[in-house]
Structures are given as structure tokens and as C-alpha cells.
Symmetry: C2
Subunit: 310 residues, 2 copies
């Protein structure tokens, strides 16, 4: 059963009704076998699905139910940002064990909030019983010219949004039963950089990816898809206060963007507009074997070159 | 991680590579943060998501892994048929416990087969570890004029495709540890009636729904959405060999179609073309309180009317 407002009897339908009531105008057009969406003429559909499974992607003790469902939806929405697509809607297939039933309202609230923050709406879904909480979010977007991972070319500059490291620092603290302190907010309430991506796409970026696995890992995905190498200046990587560069480059679930551009981007204008850093951290190379090299200042000097001296 | 061919190290990526190899040309365009799909000009996007969770929607002992994943995808694709949409692609978010890992190839094969039977391709997905097998399928389709549940009007004829009851008869046998015999095939290998739905939409049907909950339950959904009543002649309901009408009207997971039409449909032409019955089983009424009445011949006669005498 999916996309149902003309609901029959039963606990599943009652639960869906409750969620719809909490979503209010964050849910649209629910009530048929499928949702129908008009695409702007000339645009391509951009779609992705992402899963958040209890014990695999989150720990129940680290986050509130509302934060768990909020993060699940943001992680999916971030894939639209990575393609510079405008969101058209979300479908959410959720498995909710009995032990989570008392938190259904909070789960609904987190999803509704994530939809609003991303500037989109929930257009359908599915609710199942099961052994573990699992939130599977399909994001639908539109773009005239989606930005792929594969467009980076040698000589392009490499930029990253935001300051990195807080999610990894928060997890490290939580795993040691320490308070995550100021790292917690960035970990619990990330934001998909959708508006930022569209702004960047309008300024001619050549490739983009969001940071879900970590800066170096995701630079590696982009480099592999583009058939290029990437050199990063470690000293340029924007660090969250109190995080060192080693942690920052491996910190996942940042949902910041990595983009490449053949012409300089206006970092100050970006920062002013979005209240968010945009930092040039490296350069695309034609290194035959591809891959990512993070160059610490001493290494770069020893090699007699510095990509960022200009 | 989703939509990835430029995969990094790790068991998840290895598993995705294996599935992609088995899917062959049943998977298309995988390898970026999201899939990009062009829609035919003027068409609306039609999307739905459906979940199959172990122990909730299927029992491991009743079906092979290939049948389980095949059915999961067909159940989702059937929502496109219910809207008379042409399929554009599938996204599959799957949670696979360790105990299922040895069956990953068979799970992939069932999905690939279901995609081919539905005339579509897999365009992305997500693979997670977890405690129970869960297959969440998003179906994407396009239609110039999607057929909703809400278009039925008093006086319309009500039709159903196929012969009903085999899935319920198979489950009844399996629950009693009897062999499901000839019921098994219809239960294990249903077909989404996509081509049939498009043919019917071209002939002006007014509403449609697929039978996932059972004939009477889904007629009820259609009646409620349309704000009408529906009278069904029990004697007209097409029965699978060896199934009685009481079982047939409550048999779910049929994935046959219910449609309403203001003009007579050519049942013989339909049956010839699709090797599948199309049967007029009832009529839409303007009964104020809506709902579905299944009228057995004796009842209809006692009331002094028979909607199907003409």
C-alpha cells in the first residue's frame, strides 16, 4: 500500500494518517497508487535513493528520533545537491518496529522538517512493520543540465563548502562516551547544500559530489569518474574549530559539496550569500593513475612546487 | 552511497559490482550521485515506492530468493500499471543480512528479470547491511494523462483482468503445509499489467487500481476515492480453477487491474491481444454512502434487479 489517503482500517493506515496530519503542507498529492509530478519543460528528472538503517547508519542512543529521521532525509536530499538539481519531492519507505511506535510523531516531524529545509515536499511513501528501523528516502529533482562527477578536467580548481570534521569528531566523542559538545549540532542537523549547488552550477562548475564518505574518499570518487588526479593542499582544507586535518579529511556525512571549476569562483560572494565558506583546496591534474594526493606544506615545498602559490 | 560504478573498496561495493554484472543491460546509467532521466515532452512523472520486508510481506521458506526479489519489484511496478504509466526505471534500496549474502546473485537475478518483464531498467539503488531482508523499490514512469482512482462515475462499468484467487489459495496451502500445486505459479510469479493498462487507457477508462489488498478491498479504495458505490455480480467474478468466490474476492497480491469505463470495452479483443481475460463484473452506482456490494444471484433476484441483465 502506498500513496494512500483514502485509507481503510488498520494500524498501518492509522499511522499514515497521523504522519500526514503532522506533515501538514509538507506532504502533497498523497492518495493514489502513485504520485504524479509535472517536470519543467526541457529539464531532466534526477533521482536517487538512500537508506538509513538502525545499527548500520545510526545509533538510537546518539540521536533523538526526530534527528534520526531528519538526517536520513538530508542524506538523500544531498544527492540532489551533488547533481545541482532542484527538488521536486520525496518518497519515504519506512520500516518501523513496535519498539519505535511511540516515536512515530517525532519521526514524522524530522522528515517534515528536512523536506521544508530542502524546499520540497513529501509525495508518497510506504510504512511497514519489521525488526529494525529503516528509512529509505527517494529524492526526485529536475535540472536542465545536471552536474555529474565525471566532468573534472586537468587544470580545474577544486573547491569545498563549509568547514569539515565536526561529524567525525562528534562520533569519536560519542563512541568514547564523551559529550560531543559543539560538534553535535553539525552531526545531528546537517543541511543539504541544494541552493548552493544551483548557484555554483549557474557559474559553470564542471563536476560535483557531496561529502558522504569523507573528503578524500569522495574526491577519489570524483577523480575516478572523471579519469583525472586531484592534488589537495592540506593547509587549505577548512577545519571546524577544534578538529585536526587528519580527522577532517576522513569525516563522512558532512553533506558539504566538492566542486571543480575551470574558472575561479567568487568565494566571497558565495560566503556572503549563503553564510557558508567556499574554499579552493586543490587542483585537478592529469596524473595517469588518478587518485588523490593530500600535500602537506612541507611536502609541497620539498617537491619544489606549490599549486596554490598563484 | 548510491548509484555508484566508480566504486571504492569494501564489501558493499563488491556486492554492487556483482549485482551490476548479473543485471547486464537491465541496469542503465548507474555511476553518479543520482540517475538522470529524460521524460517525453508533455508527460508527467509518475512515481511510487513499495517495500517487501522479510516476515511481513513474505516468508523465506515459501519462495526462492529469486522469486522473493522478483515479486518485490513486480509489486512496485504494478503501481505504474494502476496509473497507466509507461515505466522509465527502477531504484532499489535493499537491506541484506549476512544470512542472505550467499543468495545475492539470485536476488539480483529476480530483480533483473522483473525489470525486463516490465519492460524497464534498474537506474540506481542502495545496499545496506541489516537484521532482515528488506527490498524497497521505487518505480518511475511517465504518462500524458495518468489514470487516477478517483475518476469513476455512476453508470460506469467495472472490469477486472485475469482470474482471481490463486495467490490466496497458494498462501492457504502453504500455511497448512500442503503443496500449493497449480496455485503456486500465480503466487510466485505475478506480472504487472503495464501493457494492458496502457491499452485500456487508450480506450478511455475513467479510473484504475491494481489488486494488492484483494478485489473487494481495492474496489473499496477506488469507490472511496471516486465518491461512488460499486455493485459487483458475484457470479461474474473470474475465478482461478479450483478457487471459490469468497477466497477470490479477498485474495491480495494479484496485481490484476480493476478499471472503470463509461463505454463498453472490447473484452474479446483484449483477451486475444494479451492472452488474459478482461471481465465486466459490476457497475458504479451513486449510492450515497459509497462502499462495495457483492451481489450473489439469489440476492439480486430477490431485490428485483440485476445490473448485468442487459
Amino acid at each position: 500500500v502506498s500513496q494512500t489517503t483514502n485509507l481503510g482500517a488498520g494500524a498501518e493506515f492509522d499511522a499514515i494518517r497521523r504522519m500526514l496530519a503532522r506533515w501538514g503542507n509538507a506532504a502533497v498529492g498523497i492518495g493514489d497508487d502513485a504520485a504524479t509530478i509535472a517536470l519543467p519543460r526541457g529539464d531532466s528528472l534526477v533521482v536517487s535513493v538512500d537508506s538509513a538503517v538502525e545499527g548500520q547508519h545510526f545509533k538510537r542512543t546518539w540521536l533523538s528520533p526526530r534527528e534520526i529521521s531528519y538526517r536520513a532525509v538530508v542524506a538523500a536530499a544531498s544527492d540532489l545537491a551533488a547533481m545541482a538539481a532542484r527538488p521536486l519531492g520525496l518518497l519515504i519507505a519506512m520500516t518501523v518496529p513496535v519498539s519505535w511506535r511511540d516515536h512515530l510523531d517525532e519521526l514524522a516531524d524530522g522528515m517534515g522538517e528536512a523536506a521544508r529545509v530542502a524546499g520540497t515536499v513529501i509525495r508518497g511513501g510506504n510504512l511497514s512493520d519489521g525488526a529494525e528501523l529503516s528509512i529509505n528516502t527517494t529524492v526526485l529533482g529536475a535540472a536542465f543540465a545536471p552536474i555529474a562527477r565525471s566532468g573534472a578536467r586537468a587544470g580545474d580548481a577544486v573547491y569545498v563548502t563549509g568547514r569539515l570534521g565536526a561529524p567525525a569528531a562528534a562520533i569519536r566523542a560519542l563512541e568514547s562516551n564523551r559529550s560531543p559538545g559543539e560538534f553535535r549540532e553539525r552531526f545531528a542537523r546537517p543541511v543539504a547544500r541544494i541552493r548552493e549547488a544551483i548557484w555554483l552550477a549557474e557559474r559553470g562548475i564542471t563536476a560535483a559530489i557531496d561529502i558522504s564518505d569523507g573528503l578524500v574518499a569522495d574526491l577519489g570518487h570524483l577523480a575516478a569518474a572523471s579519469g583525472v588526479g586531484i592534488d589537495v593542499d592540506a593547509a587549505r582544507i577548512p577545519l571546524f574549530d577544534g578538529v585536526d586535518v587528519d580527522l577532517a579529511v576522513s569525516s563522512g556525512e558532512e553533506y558539504e559539496l566538492i566542486v571543480t571549476a575551470s574558472q575561479a569562483l567568487d568565494e566571497r560572494e558565495f560566503s556572503r550569500r549563503f553564510d557558508l565558506l567556499l574554499t579552493r583546496i586543490g587542483v585537478v591534474t592529469n596524473r595517469a593513475n588518478g587518485g588523490v594526493e593530500v600535500q602537506h606544506a612541507s611536502v609541497a615545498r620539498a617537491r619544489g612546487h606549490d599549486h596554490f602559490s598563484g
